[in-house]
């Protein structure tokens, strides 16, 4: 028996592998430490608004490091904020409606509109260090990442089955235990998938946030975004391609090293009664789980921290008395503190509204007219790009969805492609556009298309895959013509998915308009008439009244479109075109 063991090859593997991995994990920890030291030195140094970004390919790794750090920190901030925000919104009945409405509006504001207030505030807060500017940029990326995460966490909180919550109450869980054993696990899968989208959005925003003009002052931070912008401005094709290649490389590496393992790991949190047949597998996750150092270290550490916490919490009131679950019989009056907070909040809001109104009075009639024509132009562009996306994605998506073999090959590739920020590809498209002599009026539609088509494609694929095969068989049995197949089977089947995709895409297209209607290419600035371009120029000139009004217009249009068009279509799709028993 023991002889057999020592001779088994697979066991040798089991014994040798972990040591190698342990060393790998150790090295990673060391690298992380060095990175923090380096970053701290840079941040605490004096403020350098314009650091000259070279187009030397050898500086690319350093730039990549800075950009990745910005996105990483912004992401961690987003996650923490999203969880806190979603948690309060879901658990506080008084605040819920307000908080969700605020989220809805914030989500429809283009990232760049946040630039002046956020950046100026941060620079004022930390005036003499690089940290101020960096924090401003990080917060901007944060505004591109946080909203969908918050929505995801909120809706997970609301979807927890009632009996699970009741179990946690009757067994007198503390809030801490409920959070880690019920709420976080329940929200985990949604958070992972939305993190992927968020980080992609972060890259999208990063392209514009590292280098910009604000109130006629230039800002240029070392990073991939400014590298690509510089290359575009100089028309340096080689630098441009190597910059984009770096981004693609990072995106693919993130997908393989972080997202895939996370997706595979989060399957454990699937809320299912029976085990599903297919699994996502990740070799990296398997390796990590085999690393003995990591396993015992985190395990021990966790118990060390956890046990005293639980012991202390078990003496608190909430773990001794069963807490009622319904707020219905809540007879407590709101405390004085609550009133105080409410009144302060209302005062601040009123003050802000008055300030905004005063600012808006500076807008002249001519400017107003210009803004409205711009809004109309951008509105048309956004919807044209949606239409074009739908036109090509519907046939292609259905073809992919109907062929499992094709889907297995195409889907992962498309997923990575979708994670590559469209803003990185804009420059190439722009230079091509200038070569053939096209303007940005039509070109910006193509640019928006680049950013939004993926949402629709994925949803159409999912929709096509969800059409039951017996319906497909019936269609071929009765020898439907292809016109009949499309009108009676395929289009109704994918309709709800198509609508979901279009809603997301329309939000993305509005955000993209800011990047698509205005650009610095080959030593000149090109732009077209549109709300996006107006936001850009207003930022550069420091014309805040125009910026504010343009932002309000965008938010208003997005929210109204959602309310009046998309939500109705969605409801229609749910009642009429639901394909189930």
């Amino acid at each position: 028996m023991s002889l057999q063991r020592t001779l088994t090859r697979s066991l040798v593997m089991v014994r040798t592998w972990p040591v190698v991995i342990d060393m790998g994990v150790g090295l990673c920890a060391l690298a992380l430490f060095m990175a923090i030291v380096h970053l701290a030195a840079y941040w605490m140094g004096t403020a350098v608004p314009v650091s000259h970004v070279t187009e030397n390919a050898r500086s690319l790794p350093v730039y990549a490091f800075y950009s990745v750090m910005r996105i990483g920190i912004a992401y961690v901030l987003s996650l923490v904020f999203a969880i806190a925000y979603g948690y309060i919104a879901a658990r506080n009945a008084r605040a819920e409606a307000w908080m969700i409405a605020v989220l809805d509006i914030l989500q429809s504001i283009p990232v760049l509109s946040f630039l002046p207030p956020v950046l100026l505030a941060m620079i004022a807060l930390v005036p003499h260090r690089q940290l101020g500017i960096e924090l401003g940029v990080i917060l901007l990326i944060f505004t591109g990442q946080v909203w969908n995460l918050a929505f995801s966490f909120y809706s997970s909180m609301k979807a927890i089955p009632r009996e699970m919550l009741e179990a946690s109450r009757i067994y007198r869980y503390s809030g801490w235990q409920r959070f880690w054993q019920l709420e976080m696990p329940y929200a985990a899968i949604g958070l992972v998938w939305n993190s992927i989208i968020s980080v992609a959005n972060g890259w999208f925003a990063l392209m514009a946030c590292e280098m910009f003009q604000l109130k006629n002052r230039n800002f240029e931070l070392p990073g991939l975004g400014s590298y690509i912008q510089n290359a575009t401005y100089d028309g340096d094709m080689r630098a441009l391609v190597s910059g984009i290649a770096t981004i693609v490389l990072i995106v693919v590496a993130t997908d393989q090293l972080i997202w895939r393992p996370l997706i595979a790991w989060s399957e454990k949190f699937k809320f299912e009664q029976v085990e599903a047949a297919d699994h996502v597998s990740s070799p990296i996750l398997a390796l990590l789980q085999r690393s003995r150092l990591l396993g015992t270290l985190t395990g021990r550490l966790w118990t060390r921290i956890e046990e005293p916490v639980y012991r202390r919490l078990s003496r608190s009131r909430e773990t001794r008395v069963v807490q009622p679950i319904d707020t219905d019989g809540d007879r407590r009056r709101p405390s004085i503190l609550y009133w105080f907070a409410g009144i302060t909040f209302a005062l601040v809001i009123t003050w802000g509204a008055v300030q905004c109104a005063l600012m808006l009075r500076q807008v002249s009639w001519a400017e107003l007219r210009m803004l409205f024509t711009g809004a109309a132009a951008t509105f048309l562009r956004v919807n044209a790009s949606l239409l074009l996306s739908a036109l090509w994605t519907v046939p292609v998506g259905v073809a992919i969805g109907f062929s499992p073999k094709l889907a297995r090959v195409v889907q992962p590739v498309a997923q990575v492609l979708a994670s590559v920020p469209a803003t990185a590809f804009f420059p190439i498209l722009l230079i091509g556009l200038l070569k053939i002599g096209g303007g940005l009026g039509i070109g910006s539609i193509a640019l928006m298309l680049l950013g939004t088509q993926w949402y629709i494609l994925f949803n159409v694929i999912a929709g096509a895959m969800s059409i039951p095969s017996d319906l497909k068989e019936a269609a071929s049995l009765y020898k439907f013509t292809s016109w009949q197949r499309w009108t009676t089977l395929i289009l109704p089947g994918i309709f709800p998915y198509l609508i979901t995709g279009m809603v997301t895409a329309s939000g993305g297209a509005w955000n993209a308009s800011v990047f698509a209607e205005y650009a610095n290419v080959q030593n000149r600035t090109i732009q077209t008439n549109g709300l996006g371009a107006q936001i850009d120029t207003a930022t550069a000139d420091g014309n805040f009244p125009i910026l504010l009004l343009a932002t309000i217009l965008v938010a208003l249009m997005v929210v109204t479109m959602n309310r009046l068009v998309w939500r109705r279509l969605y409801r229609l799709s749910e009642t009429r075109y639901k394909l189930e028993g």
């Binding site: 009996e163 009741e166 009757i170 067994y171 299912e272 046990e307 008395v321 219905d328 009429r576």
Partner: protein, 463 residues
Amino acid sequence: MQSAGLQNGMQAAASEESDRPTTEAIIRAEKIEKFYAQPSQNRIQVISPTDLSIVPGEIVALLGPSGSGKSTMLRMLSGLSRPSGGQVYWHEKPIAEAEINVSIVFQSFALFPWLTVLQNVEAPLQARGIDPEERRARSMRMLDTVGLDGFESAYPKELSGGMKQRVGFARALVVEPEVLFMDEPFSALDVLTAENLRSELLELWAKKTMPTRCVFIVTHNIEEAVLLADRIIVLGRNPGHIRTDFRVQIPQPRDRKAETFTQLVDFIYKVLTRPDVAPAEAPTGPRVRDQRQMKYQMLPHARPGGVAGLLELLIDKNGRDDIYRLADDLAFEIDDLLPIVDAAQLLGFLKVEEGDASITELGAEYANSEILRQKEIFRDAAIENVLLLRQIRRALDAKSDHTVSEEFFLDMLDEQFSGEESQRQIETAVTWGRYGEIFDFDAARRRFVLPDVLQEEAAGGGE
């Protein structure tokens, strides 16, 4: 004969308690009631003021049709839900301040899928700050007791329904609760598994292997109640109220075939099928409810086809049979059969007396007619007897475009039912209306229409 058997099988709880006045109640509810707030500022009463005590040493079954408020009652008694009025006491202390020790076994098991079986059972002990070693030892012992040794590192999704509920029991018992609450713990299981678990529960109870002093089980299965309980409380609905509360005197183990058993089951059927009449044996006395406040009858959620099927079966049995036997013949649970009986009764096709269902003349004509005539009879009976259907039809006739929005009726129903129930009432009304060709419903626009209007539109659109 019947009443003699019944006296063997049951005894009023009130007189029993007066025999033992010294027993102190563990949980005592005083005039508890429950309202749910509606969006329209209305409040719906789910439980009307009720007194109830739970004393040591008994298995109490709370029985009632679905929607009668059993779960609501359980949650108020366990401190999970605050009564809108009245007070629940735990050993004579208000429950919101007492350190109570109870457990609930849930219908859906409510296990945490991301924790192993052992971790699931350990979690309540962790909440109580018990050391890891002791936690583990106690949980393992409890898993042994419920017959799950060897499964401690499995995940719930790898287990069958019965095994999952065993984990639910282990988790409930590991904290050594003084009162064990169960909300339809066996309804999600197949018949054999449920039977098995029930007898194991009784065994645990009889051998006193658990320190639990009282079991409170909510069920809609009459036989289950009679098999398990020392005391049965029957809940009526709209709003929930106690219809009868009595002791079961049949010794354990109970035999389903024994005469005392079947008579008791029969008696409970009788109570449940005559919601308007208080049971003669009820110790609490008849509870008078103000019927004028109830504008709409509660439409039983039955399909017209089911009604026809029941009537045909009755005709085969010479027009009259025991409801209990009917349920048996159809292999129906009470919850499946009662709505159909209610519907037939509401339409005047059926009369229920003393737990027997007998077909009326109209019912016989309905069952024997061919389909078009059946629809006619149904339509007339429905319009005559069902206020909601009558109102919808009248509104449609009165309006020039012959359509009315669903919203209109939902608003009126909301005054009386919860939002969810109002929606279900509309759904049933649509099923009945469509069958009887009283009206049709345009699901896309959420509007009622006259049947011919919709057809014309369709014809017009097709051209």
